[in-house]
Subunit: 263 residues, 2 copies
């Protein structure tokens, strides 16, 4: 676990500087596709060479597609609960059924939203099941193990290009209390997802107590500025950000239930 | 309301590209200081000229200090409730008293955290009251009207440098369900804080329904990568991000109570 050399160097020259590149030239991803190959090709065409210390941010949608995490609604038999809530929510009951199957707990059921805890432990609307940017009749589900997806991507980039990058798998989640979606991390490899400043001192020399920063989620949100559903850059490179490399994982971002005041 | 010219131009050349500059050379801010003057000076010393379409992101701490939103704990008489919770939480009861005074509603009181709704409507720990990076015996409170703070900054930059920028005032908030703090917007001027994609079509030609992106919060998080309590860049410039200019305000990010499932 050490500070990325790139960011340490940059921090020396005045203030920190970060660059973000959105890669648009990724073809429609098919089950079995190697995302590292697609990302390296798109980067090359945009004149960007991946470098040590880069964070490669992958939209959940392409990771799910490459892993075949698609469900054909025609094949889904909705339960009575899914039928009832489909009517109340004016959604396809087969969609509601897929959401319930992808969930390990329902937090809120209302006409407006179905907020559940996914099998990984993420809390979000519709368990991350999504119809947008998917061919008709299909929905995508979150990867089975997005941390493993990120690790595989990091290994494949190292094998193909000889470069050590960090990788995030991200999705846009809603938030309580605040409107709008923001891009957050659901899978991570090659970096510490939380930066723990407890015990360090502030500019006044006072020890910081409660300061743990969710670096991976700030990286995800930064990449989200280039992703968007219209921007169509499903792969984004963040260069120059200060983070600690190491064996982090998105599951470390999950607040344990016993410490959670809003479940 | 129109797409920033800079981002439109960049979007033409392959994928989107964003640059983030953290400005470290801001002196300790005093009540009455003109943040636009300090930011322009720091940018000049780092060789960065503010340009149309830039988003200037200001850490809440320096905005609060410039507006004199400091409270001396020695002047605070804690109520019985603040005394009781100071004991339970092992915090200074005068700090708890300031938190309660800054709140219009308490959502959760536990030994670990005091989650309240501020007078503006933000939900966060300790109503945004903070002791870090403040001289001993003082705490900072959130600005009275952070949207007005952002508007004043935008006007002052236009007056001093003749450049139209957008501005955000940001603070690090915790999140339910997820560990770690992330930088979010509490004040905004010169841009639309929410990008409403409902009614537009996805890559499959299907109309997007639930897609409203909290662009201002993604910008805040991106800037957070350069801020941090150790990075000490209290002013950050985000250049090249796609956003719509316009008369947005952070209060538009507040989810109305009747639509909130977690209050």
């Amino acid at each position: 676990m050490k500070r990325s050399r790139r960011s340490a160097r940059r921090a020396g020259q005045g203030g920190p500087r970060i660059q973000i590149f959105g890669l648009r030239g990724i073809p429609e991803v098919q089950p079995g596709d190697d995302l590292a190959r697609l990302a390296l090709g798109a980067a090359r065409r945009e004149g960007v060479a991946l470098a040590r210390g880069d964070v490669v941010v992958l939209a959940q949608k392409i990771v799910s597609k490459s892993e075949g995490r698609l469900v054909r609604l025609a094949d889904v038999e909705p339960s009575p609960l899914a039928r009832a809530w489909g009517r109340r929510m004016r959604r396809d009951p087969r969609f509601v059924e897929v959401v319930l199957r992808e969930s390990r707990r329902v937090l809120r059921m209302s006409e407006r939203a179905l907020i559940t805890e996914t099998r990984h432990g993420f809390v979000c609307a519709n368990a991350g099941v999504d119809r947008s940017n998917v061919p008709g009749g299909l929905v995508t589900c979150l990867p089975h193990d997005p941390d493993a997806s990120a690790r595989r991507f990091v290994r494949a980039v190292r094998r193909r290009a000889g470069v050590q990058v960090a990788a995030l798998v991200t999705d846009t989640f809603g938030r309580p209390w605040r409107l709008g979606l923001a891009n957050v991390t659901i899978g991570a490899a090659g970096l510490r997802v939380l930066e723990d400043l407890r015990g360090t001192r502030d500019s006044q020399g006072r020890v910081l107590h409660a300061t743990v920063v969710a670096v991976a989620d700030e990286l995800a949100a930064a990449a989200g500025l280039c992703m968007g559903k219209r921007a169509r850059a499903p792969v984004v490179i963040v260069r120059g950000a200060a983070f600690r490399s190491g064996a982090g994982a998105a599951r470390q971002l999950l607040r344990p239930e016993r410490e959670d005041l809003f479940r």
